[in-house]
Structure formats: structure tokens, C-alpha cells
């Protein structure tokens, strides 16, 4: 019981992470894959922020009231990671838009089928 109560944040983090991974693997839609990746990302953020928390601590903003502060280092890492995360997501989405325009589909399986057909035609011509 002690283990469960002391670690519940970590448990949920792993569950969320696995759900994100499940979306990435199971779904063949590229946009949904990106959403799964973002879920995975947020679960890692929660993991880091949970590490940084100190019981009875206050946010790392210096005041006269307290001496115990939570760890500022994970906060800095995650703050920049969030902004970089959105930048990479936008590049991914731009790629997906171009794939849609080239293939008429954003479904991974359909795209693979089209690619296979193209290869087949090329071999025939050769």
C-alpha cells in the first residue's frame, strides 16, 4: 500500500506513456500518430516535474516565507522542451500536409500500398 501511494504519479505516467505508444503503433493515420507522440511527450514532462517536487516545498521563486524550494532544473528543461516540442510537431504536420497533397491520403497502409504498386509498375517497364 505504501509503495502504491508513494508512487502513484509514476504509475499514471507509465500508463499514459504506454497509451501514447499504443496510439503511435496501432493507428495508421499520421495525424493521430502525432497526437500519440504528443501524449507520450506530455507523460515524460509529468515524470520530470514529479521528480522536481519536494514535499512541503514551494515553487522556485524566492520569497522570505520559506527556505524549501522545489528543484528548478527540471522546470527549465521541460519549459524549453514544451516549446521545442510544438516546433517539431508543426514540422511534422507540415510534412503530413505535403504527403496528403502528393498521395491523397494520410493513411500509412494506403501510402505503402501505393508505393508498392508504383514499384511494381516500374519493374514491369524495365
Amino acid at each position: 500500500m505504501h509503495e502504491l501511494l508513494e508512487h502513484y504519479n509514476y504509475w499514471i505516467v507509465v500508463i499514459l506513456m504506454m497509451m501514447g505508444l499504443y496510439i503511435v503503433i496501432a493507428s495508421s493515420n499520421l495525424v493521430k500518430k502525432l497526437i500519440g507522440l504528443s501524449v507520450f511527450q506530455v507523460s515524460v514532462f509529468i515524470l520530470y516535474i514529479t521528480f522536481g517536487k519536494v514535499t512541503e516545498g514551494s515553487p522556485p521563486i524566492i520569497t522570505d516565507n520559506t527556505d524549501v524550494y522545489s528543484n528548478p532544473l527540471p522546470h527549465v528543461l521541460i519549459l524549453t522542451a514544451i516549446v521545442v516540442g510544438v516546433a517539431t510537431t508543426s514540422v511534422g504536420l507540415a510534412l503530413i500536409v505535403r504527403i496528403q497533397e502528393a498521395y491523397g491520403s494520410i493513411d500509412e497502409d494506403e501510402i505503402h500500398d501505393m508505393d508498392d504498386k508504383d514499384d511494381f509498375h516500374i519493374e514491369k517497364q524495365v
Binding site: E6, H7, Y8, N9, Y10, I12, V14, L16, M17, M18, L21, Y22, I23, I25, A26, S27, S28, N29, V31, K32, I35, S38, V42, F45, I46, I49, F51, G52, K53, V54, T55, G57, P59, P60, I61, I62, S70, N71, P72, L73, P74, H75, V76, I78, L79, I82, V84, V86, A87, S90, L93, A94, L95, I96, V97, Q100, E101, A102, G104, E110
Partner: protein
Amino acid sequence: MIENLQLLIDVSLLAFLVLIVFASIKMTDLFVVTMLFGIFSFVSALLFLDLDAVDVAFTEAAVGAGFTTVLMLSALRLTQPYENVKHRHSVLALFIVILTGAALFYGIADFPDMGDPNAPVHQHVAPEYIQLTQQKIDIPNVVTAVLASFRGYDTFGETVVIFSAGVAVLLLLGMGQVKCKQEPEENLVLWVVVKPMIALILIFGLYVQFHGDFGAGGGFQAGVIFASGFILYSLVFGEMYARRVVPAAILPRLAALGVLIYGVTGLMSLLSNKPFLDYNALSSDPVSGQHLGILLVEAGVGLAVFSTILLIYYSFSGREVKHHA
């Protein structure tokens, strides 16, 4: 009492997170999945707030819930908003996920307890940062001090990453053009309400930018908030007018200028024989030099983030829907 409340909020927020993701696994309408992802970010930001990470909560709410939602919606406009359920590899995925999950659960057992002040993370660098911030930089917000001064190199790298992401999106999608048929319908109530709201958002953005030394906030958050003001204008009044206010052509230059401000601040200290990004060189008094350096660097970050975010939005929303023949 208070601890019970905190536990209650914490546990219910985590439960909400799991529920939201579970529901979005089952949904096939990607519009709905995107909206659910928006509230997922909201809830996770609330969780960060509960875990003492004020700045992170701020960023996650602005970036995750605000901008990512808008971005995914505008990408969905250009693609198909439905997922084909037939193409799912559920069994394979379940197998991999259960295997990985079991390994991770096994690993978790060795983690230090939550909130343990003697955990290894809290022993090494963090106490020095907190102490040095009080001595050398003298601003209350340790996160801003670490971000802009102690680890200024990293932040410079991240600003460059954001800038290059903007360039990549620009190369992939182009600046886009606006046609009149894309304009939103007339809605007088929205027009009247949104005008003062935009002013409020911009003022709030400035407040966040310059209040970052004392409380939650800073360049990253302020840039996103500022951009979302213009995004709101473009959503309600039409993108044609938004592009007259902030032309798309100046945005890449503004983004580059932001990165340049950051870099030049670093170079200034090289001129007086100090290491790169050592703000003590900026003024005769080291502490006020640090203050000046952090102000300049945050301004550069804010400008770069603002123009990159708005540029990415323009690229997506200005692109015409092309249907594959």
C-alpha cells in the same frame, strides 16, 4: 485537511488524463481527438501547477492547449479529419505496449519516493543554482535565472531550433495566399467582443514578458500569448486583414532578428574578454549587468517565438486545400 485536498485534486486530475487519452484512442473523428488533446493539455498544465512548476504550467497552457490545438485544426483542414479504423494493428501494438509497460513498471519500483527531499536529483546542481541566484543575479524567479543566465547556452540552442522549425515549415508549405472565399461570416457580436479582447491579450503578453523576472512568465510564454492575439484577430476578422496588420513577409526577418538579439548579447561579453553569454560584462556592476542581459535575452526569445509561431500559423492557414486527383 489541506493535504487531503491536494491529494484529491492530484488523483482526480491524473484520472482525467487517463480517461481523456483512453477516449481519444477509441475516437475516429480527428476533430474530436484534437479537441480532447486540448483539454488534455489543460489538465496536465493544472497538474504542473499542483506540482509547484508555475512556469511550466504557464507554458503548457499557452503552447499545448492554445497553439497546438489551432495548429492541428489547421492541418486537419488540409487533410482528412477521419481515421480509417480498418487499418489498425491493435494486437501487435497491445503486445509491444504490454511488454514495454511491464519493463517500465519493474523499473519504477526503484524510484525514490515522490517529494523525498533526499532524492539524488535534489543533491547535485539545484541547491547551488538556488543559492547563486540569490547572491549573483538577485531576481526572485530561479527558473528565469537558470534559463537565461546559468544555462543561457541551452536556451540559445533552443531558440535556434524554434527558428529553424519555422524555416522548415516555410520551405515545406510556403507563405500561402489568402482568397476572399475563406473569409469568416459576419458576426457582429464576435466583432464587438473580440476587439477589446485582443487588446487585453496583447497587454497580458507584455505583462508576462516583463514580469518573468519576478513571477511566472518569460519570453517563451509571452511570444505565444502575443501571437495568439493576432491569431484570434485572423480567426474572427479574416486572415486578409490580419496579413495587413502583420505582413507575412516581415515575420521571417523578425524571427531572425530575435535570434540575432540573443546572439549579439552573447557576443558583447566576448568583446570585453569574458566568456560567451557572461552578462557580468554588460555593466560595471555585475548584478545590474545580469539584469540587463536577462532582459535582452528574454526580449530576443520573445520576438523569435512570436514571429515563428505566427509564421507557422500563416503557412498552414494560408495554404489552399488541394485534393488529389
